[in-house]
Structure formats: C-alpha cells, structure tokens
C-alpha cells in the first residue's frame, strides 16, 4: 500500500459536515449558492431542519433522482430540488419578508472576505469589466439571525480572506457570526476573530500567517477533526 501524502485541513465536504453539526433541530436555514448547498447533505439523521430558498420555498429537500427534475422546482442556484412533506411555496415578496424580517435562524454564505468586526464582502470583486450582480446576498446579510460563512481560509492565489477590514465592496456590516474554513472555526466576538476550533496538525501560528487580522484562541478551543470524506 502506498502512503498517502497528508495535507493539513478539511476538504469541502468536511467543512459542510462541520457546519451541519452546528445547526440545531428546528432551525430555519438558508443556504447560499454553491458550496453552502452541500451543508444539507450532512445534517445528522433524525434532526429536523427546514431549508428556505429565496425563490419561495420552505422545506426544500435534496436533488431529485435523474429524470425526476422539475424546472418549476429549483433552488436559489437554479438547480432542481425537491419539496419535503410539510414544505410550502410562496411568492418572492413573502420570501424576502422572511429573510429581511429576521425569521431565518441561520444563513450559510460563501465570502470573498470577512473582516474582524463581522463585515462581509461576498457580492463583487474589484474587477469592473464584468457587470455587477448581487442577487439576495445583501438581504440575507442584514436579515438572517446568524450568518455563517463557509469558505477557504486563503484565496486560490494564497491571499488571506480574513481581514482587518474588507477591501472588496461590502455586502453588509458587522453581520458575520462564525466562519468555517478548511483550517478553523472562527467566531466574531466583540469585533475580533476568536478561534474556536483548529484543524488537526494546524497551529495557531500557522493560522495567523494565513490571516490578515489578529486571532485570539478561545479558552475552550478544540481540534477540528471531522470524519474522513472523499
């Protein structure tokens, strides 16, 4: 048997798994487009969670079996989904009333950057050659009770995404509660980053070198050690 090279940190599925563990039974949850959608796959068996989609669905279920897709039943990323028993449909205005009105317990979003005071930048880069597009990101940022961020700790180019302040255009101010990266779970507390969990074989010093802001280690921090997933 060949030895497999060990890399530090979680893969995308493991981060989704970690976030799923954080969601209490009975929560009303909106999952942002892209990686956050994966969180739904890892909710512990028997834990009842209600997924909201901005386009007017509550009680969204998993993707349909091949051949069972319905173009009128899609999620915010416009991918086919299903409706669970007890689910419901409503119009866009009512859907954003739920969001803006503070009825969504948890929203999991991706991000370009998060600042230590909880500021979020996830809708636009500094590239102005492409048209802008915001979708529901700003409504979710101000409306959901808790914003969780699911993102890589560094950009593909190795640049920090956790910052003293965002350099990309803001989506919302002081809205992020917790950031789940491939390397750590970090809470925003009193306008500062507090490391609650560190990936196995990851040191706080390593993490600091990958973060453009101060990091405090929580007293009761622990090792972030999800099950193997491939």
């Amino acid at each position: 048997m060949a030895t497999i090279a060990k890399t530090v940190g979680l893969n995308r599925k493991q981060v989704a798994w970690r976030i799923a563990q954080e969601i209490p039974e009975g929560s009303y949850v909106n999952l942002g487009i892209g990686s956050p959608e994966m969180v739904a796959n890892y909710i512990p068996d028997g834990r009842e969670i209600f997924f909201h989609s901005e386009n007017g669905i509550l009680g969204m279920g998993p993707a349909p079996k091949p051949g069972q897709e319905d173009g009128n039943l899609i999620n915010a990323g416009k991918k086919p989904v299903t409706l669970l028993p007890g689910g419901s449909y409503f119009n866009h205005t009512d859907s954003f009333a739920m969001i803006r009105g503070g009825h969504i317990d948890i929203c999991v979003l991706g991000a370009y950057q998060v600042a230590e005071n909880g500021d979020l930048a996830n809708w636009a880069t500094l590239d102005t050659t492409k048209p802008p597009g915001v979708g529901g990101a700003m409504d979710l940022a101000v409306g959901a009770k808790k914003i969780y961020i699911m993102m890589d700790h560094l950009t593909k180019d190795g640049q920090p995404k956790l910052m003293t302040s965002c350099t990309y255009p803001h989506t919302g101010y002081g809205v992020v509660r917790t950031i789940f990266t491939d390397l750590a779970v970090i809470d925003v507390i009193d306008k500062g980053f507090v490391v609650r969990e560190l990936a196995k074989d990851m040191s706080l010093e390593d993490l600091r070198s990958k973060t453009d802001a101060s990091l405090t280690l929580a007293k009761n921090w622990s090792v972030l050690n999800p099950p193997e997933m491939n």
Binding site: E25, G26, Y28, G46, E48, F50, H52, L58, G59, L83, P85, G86, G87, S88, Y89, F90, F96, A97, M98, I99, R100, G101, G102, H103, I104, V142, G143
Partner: protein
C-alpha cells in the same frame, strides 16, 4: 422531531410577560382566538397592550380579557362596534388607553415589523386628526405620513388546520389579520380546530408556513 403542539390551553398562553404587546387576530368574531384570549384572562399577567382591529364584543374573548383588567391599552381601527360595551365603559372611565389607527395602516405597520421594513410613507391619514404629529412628506405630489413598524411580543391567532410544524390554513374571511400578525410577533400562538399530518396540506395552499408559528393549541369544539 419538532412538535409545536401544546398539550393544554394553559401551556399555550404561558410565559407571557407583564407589559407584553399582544397582537390579537380577527375582524369582529371572524378569526378571533376566543379561547386563547379567555385563557389569557385567567393568568396573572398584567398591563398588556392589545393590537386588534376591534375592541371586543359582548363579554367573551377579547371583551373578557379587557374586563379582567389586564389590558392597559388598545391599538385598533374600530373600537365602536355596537357590542363593544366593556371597552367603551372602561374608556369613558379613563381606565384604558386607546390608539386609533386606520385599518390599512394597522395591517401595514404589522407587515413592516414582520418584513424588516424600518418605516414607510403612506398617504392614509395625511392631513387628518389621525396623522397629527407624524412626519410628513410630499411624494409624487401627494402628502404622505411616515409610519413605523408595530411589532408584537405575542400573537394570538385563529386558524382552521395546522400540522405539527405550524403550517396553517384558514377558513374563508376568518383569515384576515392572522397571517400578518403571525409574521409580526416574536412568539405566535395559534388556536386551530384540527391538527393534520405533515404533508397532508397542499404545499400550494399553505397560507402561513410553520416558520411563523411557535405554539399550536388544538381547540376541540
């Protein structure tokens, strides 16, 4: 497994604080949560503010709650129904405060609370006695008043059917204020005639999704 049903009516109206703002559904008797209101009258809560379209009739439901002395203030559109004797007597004795709000503004202020709108301009009541003291602005040549959200601590509403998740449907014009009050309160308590299995209701027909409902009391007629 989530189950929002409470086992008895006392549990339905428990943990309501003194001074709470209570949104109470109904247009006259249609859609009024009579049993919940009467159960609340039997608790020792006090100094309530009631938001409701009317001020109760006869000596049941909202009128019974008012009679119990627990209501310090009523915010409503129409407290002068012929049967609103208990309210009108207390009002004449200056034992209860009244804030009259136009019916559409009452509903829209609760919607703003439920929908996260900070304030809104409406032409209703501009220039009238009910608009006095309010910030005004001419928009598109029409005078508007600025109205603020009306949020409840508790909503007491009536519906026809619920499932354990709190999905709800109503009966005919008894729907009236229940959907908006369910959105506008921190805790929404619904009195229903029937509890059905999850999945039994048509998802296209669910009027109030469970996200807005906290406690379900099944009232067996």
């Amino acid at each position: 497994m989530i189950n929002k049903e409470v086992q008895n009516i006392a549990a339905a109206v428990s943990y309501i604080n003194d001074g709470a703002v209570i949104l109470s559904s109904g247009f006259g008797d249609a859609g009024a949560p009579i049993s919940l209101l009467e159960a609340l009258a039997k608790t020792d809560v006090k100094n309530l503010t009631i938001v409701s379209n009317n001020a109760g009739e006869g000596n049941y439901g909202l009128a019974a709650l008012i009679k119990s002395g627990k209501v310090a203030k009523i915010i409503c559109s129409y407290p002068i129904s012929a049967g609103s004797i208990i309210f009108q007597n207390l009002y004449n004795q200056k034992k209860i405060q009244l804030n009259v709000v136009p019916q559409g503004t009452l509903s829209e202020r609760m919607r703003a609370a439920g929908a996260g709108i900070g304030a809104f301009f409406t032409p209703t009541s501009a220039g009238t006695k009910l608009g006095e003291g309010k910030e005004t602005r001419i928009i598109e040549g029409i005078e508007h008043v600025l109205e603020y959200p009306l949020k409840g601590d508790i909503a007491l509403i009536l519906a026809k059917k619920a499932d354990r998740l709190g999905n709800i449907i109503y009966d005919k014009s008894a729907r009236n204020f229940s959907p908006v009050m369910a959105m506008a309160a921190t805790t929404t308590i619904v009195q229903v005639e029937e509890l059905v299995e999850v999945g039994e209701m048509d998802p296209e027909l669910i009027i109030t999704p469970g996200i807005f409902i906290d406690r379900i009391f099944v009232h067996n007629k």
